[in-house]
């Protein structure tokens, strides 16, 4: 369960987030949808605690991300945008490194890494050094790494960027699997179809504010548009006119 209340964040004169609020419940997929530079990544970065908000609060399962950032990180698995791997380590070693960092002891590291390799279907290349991996392979390993400590909340920043159709499909299946296991999945995207196909709840963000939120059907209804794309454009104009 992720709750965001009135987050503001500026970088110099750039106001990336100007009062973003929403919540992402357990057992649901929440999608942050917005054009480039809308403040999606900034919001997610606040949630996995690499940025501190200028004002406003956010909590993960009731733990404040500023007051107890370590506790909040324990309950979050994060896949930042363009997450990189260690090229000289194999996929398995990359995942095992994160497992050890999260405090698992040696026997449970091996078991955990094996099970996550199975879950993400990456056995084929698990024991190769990761230099030369394709974007899809890299994303899967990075995701496996982020899930290794069984986080209740999963934050994915543009996870399908640079993936082909097959890789996108298998990533979608995984996200649905996680939701069905009762996890809270929050992911960002600027691709409409993807959000429409996957999300139970959509939060449209533009110019650092929440423009609209609800299910795909609700958003269409409220903007009076037939399809989500028109609704999206409409919502963005609403914010930018303010």
């Amino acid at each position: 369960m992720i709750v965001v209340k009135d987050i503001h964040k500026s970088f110099g004169s750039v106001r990336a987030a100007r009062g973003i609020s929403f919540d992402a419940p357990d057992g649901k997929i929440t999608g942050l949808l917005g054009p480039n530079g809308a403040g999606k990544s900034t919001t997610l970065r606040v949630l996995y605690t690499v940025l501190k908000p200028d004002s406003g609060t956010a909590s993960i399962d009731g733990i404040d991300v500023v007051a107890d950032s370590l506790g909040a990180r324990q309950r979050v698995g994060a896949l930042p945008h363009g997450a990189g791997l260690y090229p000289h380590l194999s996929a398995r070693e990359n995942i095992a490194y994160y497992a050890r960092l999260c405090g698992l002891d040696r026997p449970s590291v091996d078991a955990k890494v094996d099970s996550i390799i199975n879950l993400l279907e990456i056995d084929d290349f698990a024991d190769r050094q990761t230099k030369g991996f394709s974007q899809g392979q890299r994303t899967k390993v990075a995701l496996a790494r982020a899930l290794v400590h069984d986080p209740q909340n999963i934050i994915l920043d543009e996870p399908t960027n640079g993936l082909d159709v097959m890789a996108t499909r298998s990533l979608r299946r995984l996200i649905l699997k996680l939701r069905d296991a009762g996890r809270c999945v929050l992911f960002s995207s600027h691709v409409m179809q993807e959000v429409a196909a996957l999300c139970d709840d959509i939060v449209i963000i533009a110019a650092g504010r929440v423009a609209l939120r609800g299910s795909a059907a609700e958003i269409c209804e409220r903007t009076g548009c037939d399809d989500l794309e028109d609704a999206f454009v409409h919502a963005i104009h609403m914010v930018e006119d303010v």
Binding site: V50, P80, A83, Y86, H88, L89, E93, R100, L101
Partner: protein, 392 residues
């Protein structure tokens, strides 16, 4: 602690597989020093040997007018080579570099010598040419000695002891020991060790900051439920390990190189036994923490791997500055110098190589102050790792 260990093990494994890191840590640092050193030593041995023992060929104009002078020169292992036509041609030849030294014996020489007035001989050379100056000095010394011989014979012929000409007998007493003489040249060894130490950790320091950021692996790492202090300390610990390995290799490769260098011919017997190798390692080891922290600190301010490399090559030179200043001013080790990292290690190492008693208080201050600065900078690194700006 478990986290710190996990970071440490991963960084060691990761960098051990990286050829660039491995080459710089285990080959560049340890080999560069001894090779350069052997080259310099060999050069100076060659030069010092070429002095008195080798035959020197000198052009002489007017040799036929002074056969005794020529005979004397030949007894001093100086042979007469082809000579230019006249004095003007000789000056032109020396000026153009065709000849190093030309001795001109004027036609008036024999007459002046017979009359007992100081007989004139010219030695033409180029003062700006160091090699030629050594030859010219040999020629001058030989001519002067011949002159003194003639003078002594004249005095004896008049019934006067030649000793009246020698009112004072100046005698040089050199107190330097063979180990002590080594120190001048071997003083530069300490810098090679510090260089090897820093080289060993350079790529790790870059990799843990600028490298992780450029690869995009920093942000997911920081999103893990781990404190940044543990990440930073694990990384610095791995950097120190590589630095120590590099230092150890460097010390032993010097140990081997010194065995093959004919240093006795230079009147040097450096005290560089296995015991000194180990003592030097322990003396320099605390510098690893300081070096690792400085390099990490500098690299964490840079935007990319390349930029970090550029700045860190400046850091490689920094430790020479205090050593250079003290060497130029030829200052003796004092208590105050022991507070300065790199300088204190240099001075103590020179004492060890000179086989002089090492002041234990100095060692204690050197180790403590170097560790103090190291811990301080490691703390600053950990603080910097908590900055948002780190993500770039």
């Amino acid at each position: 602690m478990r986290t710190l260990l996990a970071v440490f093990r991963k960084e060691v494994l990761d960098n051990f597989r990286d050829r660039r890191t491995l080459v710089s840590a285990l080959v560049m640092g340890p080999i560069f020093g001894p090779v350069l050193f052997a080259f310099v030593i060999n050069l100076s041995i060659e030069r010092s040997l070429s002095d008195a023992d080798n035959e020197l060929e000198i052009a002489v104009i007017g040799a036929e007018g002074a056969p005794n002078v020529i005979r004397y020169l030949e007894s001093e292992n100086i042979v007469i080579g082809d000579s230019p036509a006249d004095r003007a041609a000789a000056i032109a030849a020396v000026d153009s570099g065709a000849a190093d030294v030309v001795v001109v014996i004027p036609e008036t020489f024999a007459a002046q010598l017979a009359e007992g007035i100081p007989a004139r001989i010219e030695v033409i050379s180029d003062r700006a040419n160091a090699q030629a100056q050594r030859d010219a000095r040999r020629a001058r010394d030989a001519l002067r000695a011949y002159g003194q011989q003639i003078a002594a014979i004249r005095l004896v012929a008049r019934g006067v002891s030649p000793l009246v000409m020698q009112a004072i007998n100046v005698d040089d007493v050199d107190v330097s020991t063979p180990s002590g003489r080594s120190a001048i040249l071997l003083g530069m060894m300490s810098y090679f060790f510090i260089f090897a130490l820093l080289m060993g950790g350079m790529y790790l320091a870059i990799d843990t900051t600028a490298g992780e950021r450029e690869r995009g692996s920093l942000e997911p790492l920081l999103a893990l439920p781990v404190t940044r202090n543990q990440l930073m300390l694990g990384k610095i610990a791995a950097t120190c390990l590589f630095m120590w390995v590099s230092l150890m290799l460097s010390l032993w490769s010097f140990y081997v190189a010194l065995k093959f260098l004919p240093l006795e011919q230079l009147g040097m017997t450096p005290n560089f036994s296995p015991t000194v190798v180990l003592a030097a390692f322990l003396l320099l080891a605390p510098f690893a923490l300081l070096g690792a922290s400085i390099m990490t600190l500098v690299a964490s301010f840079t935007k990319s791997y390349k930029e970090a490399q550029t700045w860190l090559s400046v850091v490689l030179i920094a430790p020479t500055l205090p050593i250079l200043i003290v060497s130029i001013l030829t200052l003796r080790p004092t208590l105050g110098f022991m507070f300065v990292p790199s300088l204190s290690q240099h001075l103590l190492l020179v004492d060890m190589i000179k086989n002089e008693p090492v002041n234990l208080l100095h060692v204690a201050i050197s180790v403590t102050s170097t560790l103090f600065f190291g811990v301080l900078l490691a703390g600053i690194c950990a603080r910097l790792y908590r900055r948002e700006g780190l993500l770039g």
